[in-house]
């Protein structure tokens, strides 16, 4: 048993060794046959070389990206920059974007801990103290009252306690800001409405915007590549067109329909922007979109302009400026094409970044989440369906960004109730869903041993929830069961969860999106679109 209940917020500044050691024996138990640790690949320990080259002082897990200071002077330099960043985080000039919600969350938490048990990370870890939603929030709170809102130091210490700022604190806090999926279940449980998810995000932002501390996955390979090459996948315009051509051919052959994706069509009604990860990892998804749009007679196009063919916006998870740059490009491209509105692919954070958050940056073109649009098509009467083609057990994973942050809950359910006769809900679901564990960009992070953390800890609750949803079905792998996850990021995480635990081989549980189910139920396609035999 290695769960340390004695750790306090103040310990963040003390020592150089990791505060906790993670042991899968402590993690939340899973049902049979997933409870046998000896049958699982285990939790990867960092190599000695990785420990030597990186600051490893939180939990033996690395998100990476921190330079190791070569001297005390360098450490001091980072401490100064960090304190400067704290101050900027609480000025209207540098942080008008989230100042009000952040200050309100800083000043009014009663430390009642009503949020703690709502956190799937805290629960999944077996209640490791450092993952409690209030833990990292309390560090920033102490810093806020010390540097962001200076007052009498005696009164401050009496009200909020004190904390020492040093390299140990900074480096641990940076890692800890990436142990929260920003799912905001904790905020829902707060009687005062303090938002610990926002606090994690703002911490990441401080590190990125002031110190240049960010993860390679979100920054260099994420937003930078997106803005400079065209997509966070690394695809340039030629590669994306090639890939879509290939998908069009494959889909045409499999469905018997003539599918040709239109590119850069000026004056089309709709600009479709996929999460480009779909094109690489789940080509059936953009293929299914094309089938539906063509069959419904929609005037649509995709853009081959840099940034315009990838709807992801990793800036949302760590950096306001990078976020705004990508969003501004999306809007600029849509305006240049003269489309009436933007259709977002099956991607939760893309939808939130454009439809909700982006609204206050530029609202000149409407942005529509896929499921909202799809519902109207499914019930519009232009396409004929045979729901019995989907006569296998189906459950729905709710992407946090879509439900909790946007209130898009029912359209996807209406479709499933109609097109999937064996649809059943997970519990809890809708706005009370559990995060897949790959939220806030975690699903794309594979570096060091972080994938083990997100699969075995942050995704644990979701995996159990999926198993529970099919608990009354024949557990045989020969009976296919389908998890519908209308979000690229979530699919990436669920893919890794299933691979790690062998869920497909052991229990016949598969995953994919919503459009695949819609196309599978279409009367006018030849053969089944979802082929469980080839999904293994």
């Amino acid at each position: 048993m290695t769960v340390r209940k004695d750790i306090k917020v103040k310990d963040m500044s003390k020592g150089v060794e990791p505060l906790v050691e993670l042991d899968p024996q402590d993690f939340m138990p899973l049902p049979d046959p997933y409870d046998k640790l000896e049958e699982q690949p285990g939790f990867k320990k960092l190599k000695e070389s990785e420990k030597k080259d990186n600051v490893v002082n939180l939990d033996g897990v690395l998100i990476g990206g921190l330079p190791v200071p070569k001297s005390k002077e360098e450490e001091e330099k980072y401490v100064e920059a960090f304190i400067r960043g704290i101050k900027k985080l609480f000025t209207k000039e540098d942080n008008w974007t989230f100042l009000q919600p952040l200050v309100l969350s800083m000043e009014h938490c009663a430390q009642c801990q009503s949020c703690s048990d709502e956190c799937p990370v805290y629960e999944g870890s077996g209640y490791q103290e450092i993952y409690r939603p209030t833990f990292r929030a309390e560090v920033l709170r102490k810093l806020y009252f010390k540097y962001g809102k200076p007052g009498n130091s005696l009164i401050r210490k009496f009200q909020h306690g004190d904390i020492e700022v040093n390299w140990a604190l900074i480096s641990r806090l940076y890692e800890l800001s990436y142990r929260c999926t920003l799912c905001r279940r904790c905020a829902q449980a707060c009687p005062i409405s303090v938002d610990n998810g926002l606090i994690s995000r703002e911490l990441r932002k401080l590190f990125s915007q002031e110190l240049g501390f960010y993860t390679r996955s979100l920054h260099e390979k994420g937003t930078v590549q997106h803005l400079q090459v065209g997509s966070s996948t690394g695809m340039n315009d030629l590669a994306v067109k090639d890939n879509i051509d290939f998908i069009d051919e494959d889909i045409s052959e499999r469905t018997g329909l003539n599918i040709k994706t239109p590119w850069d069509k000026s004056g089309a009604d709709v600009l479709l922007i996929h999460n480009a990860g779909e094109i690489i990892a789940w080509p059936d998804n953009p293929g299914a979109f094309a089938v539906i749009l063509e069959a419904a007679g929609i005037s649509w196009t995709m853009s081959s302009e840099i940034t315009g063919y990838d709807g992801v916006n990793y800036g949302l998870f760590y950096d306001d400026v990078q976020y705004a740059r990508i969003y501004a490009k999306h809007i600029e491209i849509a305006k240049k094409l003269g489309v009436k509105w933007i259709l977002m692919g099956e991607c939760g954070h893309e939808s939130k970044a454009m439809a909700a958050i982006g609204d206050r940056i530029n609202s000149s073109i409407p942005r529509v989440p896929a499921v909202t649009f799809l519902k109207d098509i499914v019930f519009g009467g232009k396409i004929k369906f045979d729901p019995m083609k989907n006569n296998f057990p189906v459950t729905l994973h709710d992407p946090c960004n879509l439900v909790r942050s946007m209130g898009v809950v029912e359209p996807q359910r209406e479709i499933l109730r109609y097109l999937a006769p064996k649809f059943r809900e997970m519990e809890p679901h809708g706005v009370r869903n559990y995060c897949c564990g790959g939220g806030s960009g975690f699903a794309i992070m594979q570096q060091y041993n972080f994938a083990d953390w997100r699969i075995q800890i942050s995704g644990r609750r979701k995996f159990k929830q999926i198993l529970d949803a099919f608990a009354n079905e024949d557990p045989s792998p020969d009976v296919p069961k389908y998890v519908c996850a209308p979000c690229s990021n979530c699919k990436g995480q669920i893919r890794d969860l299933f691979a790690f635990y062998g869920a497909t081989q052991k229990s016949g549980i598969y995953y994919d999106g919503l459009v695949e189910l819609i196309v599978n139920a279409m009367v006018d396609i030849k053969g089944p679109f979802i082929d469980f035999d080839n999904k293994m």
């Binding site: 000039e93 009000q100 009687p191 926002l198 609204d359 209130g407």
Partner: protein
Amino acid sequence: MLIVQILCYVAILVFLTASVSRIIKVAKMPVHLRWELYPVPHEKGRAHYGGSKLEENEWWKKEHKKDHLNEWKEMGTEIVFLKAVWEFNRSLWIGTFPFHFGLYMMITNMVLLFISGILQLSGNPVSNGSTGVLLYFYYLILDIAWVSSIIGVFGSVRLLFARIVDNGLRKFSSVSHYFNILFIGAIYLTVLLWLISGKEFVGTMSDFYASLISFSIPDIIPVIAVWHIIIAVLFIMYLPFTHMSHMYMKYFLYHYVRWEDGENIPGSTLSEKLGKQLAYPVSWSAAHIGADGKKNWGEVVTNIPEKM
């Protein structure tokens, strides 16, 4: 007694000044990017499952009326019954509900005693010798005092116990958390002791309120009453400077953040404010930002540095 009376005036002044300035400071903060959290109760017909207008195709072409009544219903349930604590932290609710509800009852009694003071000045004293409605009024105040002080003391003890015994609560409690419970507990306890002692509560407090209203010197009151009044007014002065100001700042947490989904319609006041905010200078230091303290948000976003 004059000192106690002066302290009351000072407390009211401090409370109002500190609270109003806190409210103004928060209310005047820049409009933030949207960060609502569903369910949002003003979503008519959708709030019960957490839906929003984004579920509707071409929502931008339709008018959406907000269900403000449901917002107040939600807020009221949350404030009065501490619904979220009931749902997510039942063992804490056993202490925190009576602790808070006792406070609401005491605030109600302050209003009733204020009215009683006015009645007294107008020659209609509220006492156990009154008749008709005034007698009912007397017993209403007295009963509220009994109930609030009993549940308040229970809640305080239960909360204090929880903060000491529960590992999760203890670790996140500063000195002030214990102090605050003891402080409020002392307000309840002094009322309870006063009532148990059999000394007149309603009449004494009505006299005191009448003297406050009329700026006249109050009569001598029992020692326990002096203790109660002093502790209560000190608390009133202290509250706006603590996290307990969530009592009224909760309005902003809910209405300005959690449920704030206002659309950015070109030409609207919101849009105008956002336009001004884009002109704020940016001074973040990381190289990829490309800020120099002079360039504004609009410029920083559109001028992407070559090296990020």
